[in-house]
Symmetry: C2
Subunit: 236 residues, 2 copies
Amino acid sequence: MLKYQQIANEIEQYIHKQNLKQGDKLPVLEQMMSQYAVSKSTITKALELLERKGIIFQLRGSGIFVRRHNRPGYMSLFSTQGFKSNLGDRILTSDVLDVSVMKPDALVAENLGIDVTDDVYRVERVRYVDGEVLCHEESYYVKAIVPYLNREIVADSIFDYVQSALGVTIGFSDMYLQVGRLTESEAVLLGLEEDDPTLRIETIFHLSNGKPFDYSRITYHYEHSQFVVQANGPYM
Amino acid sequence: MLKYQQIANEIEQYIHKQNLKQGDKLPVLEQMMSQYAVSKSTITKALELLERKGIIFQLRGSGIFVRRHNRPGYMSLFSTQGFKSNLGDRILTSDVLDVSVMKPDALVAENLGIDVTDDVYRVERVRYVDGEVLCHEESYYVKAIVPYLNREIVADSIFDYVQSALGVTIGFSDMYLQVGRLTESEAVLLGLEEDDPTLRIETIFHLSNGKPFDYSRITYHYEHSQFVVQANGPYM
DNA sequence: TTGTTAAATTGTACCGGTACAATTATACTT
DNA sequence: AAGTATAATTGTACCGGTACAATTTAACAA
C-alpha cells in the first residue's frame, strides 16, 4: 500500500477512535510530517484524499478540521455502488436470483461498448440491509474481463472478487439517476405495490484503463433507501 | 486565477473545441509542461482537477484520455446544486415565490447550526429548464452571513452573488437524497398530481471555513429530472 | 504468424525546497 | 473594553528533481 493511502487510513482511524466531531481540529501539518516521518507533499496528498471522501476540510492559516455529516440513517450513495463499503455497522446480504452467461441485448451491449455477439454474465439479486429489502439489481459483466462467476461469489462482493482474484482495478463509474414507478414484477420482489415510487440507478463501471466491464440497473425500495452525497465545491 | 485552474480550463476548452470523445488521447504530460511553461506538478494538479470533474482519466505508461458520458439528457447532480453550472446549452429560469426575513424553526436552525432566535432569509422558487418545470425549492440563508437578498438577486444565481458581492467562498456541501410522494401543494406547483413520485434533496452548504450558510429542500419533477454522477473509484 | 523478451514511453509516488495568502494571536493604542 | 496594527501560525501554489511501475513498442526467436 502506498504511503499516502496508509497515512490517510491511519488518520481516519484516529478520528473514529477519538470520536472526533464536526469542527474538531487535527494536529497541524508539520506535526504530521514528523509523526509519520514523510515529506510535506505526502501528508498533503493523504489529506487531500480525506478531503475528497468528505472526512476533513482544510483551512489555510487555521488548520485541519473534521467534517462529519450528522444523519445516521443515510448511506453514502457510493458505498452501495460497489466502492469502498462505508455502511458502518449495517449488514448487507443478498438473494441471488440469477447467474448466467448470455448474449446482451442492443442496449446492454451499447452501454458496455461491446458487440451483441460477445458474452456477458447476467446477475440478478435482491439486496438487504439489516434484513430489510433495499433494492433489486440486474447487472451485466463483460465475460472477456470477468471470465467466471458463481452464486457464492455473487452472494458476496463481486467487486472484491474481481479486484483480488482477477487482478484488475476499477477506475471510475458513470451513474444515471431517475425517479419512476415500479412495475408489477419489481413490486413483488421489493414487497411493494405496482406504481409505487422508486429510485432507479443505472451505472457503468469502468476499469482503470477506461474499459467498461459492468453495467447495472438498480431499483431501490423508496422507504428503505436514503442517501448522502458529500461534495466539494470548487471541483464540481 | 491560479495557474493550475487556468490550465485546467484551457484543456477543457480544447477538448470541447476539438470535439474529442471518450477514449481520445490528449498530448502527453511533458508536452503540456513545455506548452504552458510550468512545472510537472502544476500540470499534474490541473489534470487531477479534470479527473475529479470526470472529464479525463489518466493511465500510467499510456497517456491521458478523454472521459465523457454519453447521455445528453442528463444533468450533473452537482450542477443543479449551485456549483459550477454545467447545464451546457440549457436555460435555467426561476419563479420567485418568496424572499423574506424570518426566524427559523427548530429543524432549520439545527441544520444551519444556529439558534432559533437568529435571522434567516427564506427563499422559495420554482425552477425551470428550457421552460419545463424542474423543481420546487425552499431554502434558508443565515442572515449573519448573507445580510441582504432581493427578488432580482434570487431570480438569478444566488451563489454567484454570494461569492462575488459578499466575497465569501463556498467550501463543501452535504446532500441528502430521498424518494417520496408529492403533497397536494407541491403537486400544484409542479403541475403534477398528489402522491406522484418525487426526488427530494436536502442540502447543507458550507463556506470554506466550515460554517453552514444555506439549507435547502428541493422537490424534483420526476419526469423532467434525470441526473448523472461521475465517480472516481479509489476515492469513494 | 505467434509468442517472448527487451527497450522506450509515460504517468505516479515521493522528496525537499521557496514564496505566499489566509487566519489567528499578540501587542498596542484609544 | 474595543478597535487597530503587527507578528506568528498554518495550509497552498509552485518549482525541480529522482525513482519507479504500468503500458506500449520494437526486436527477436520459434
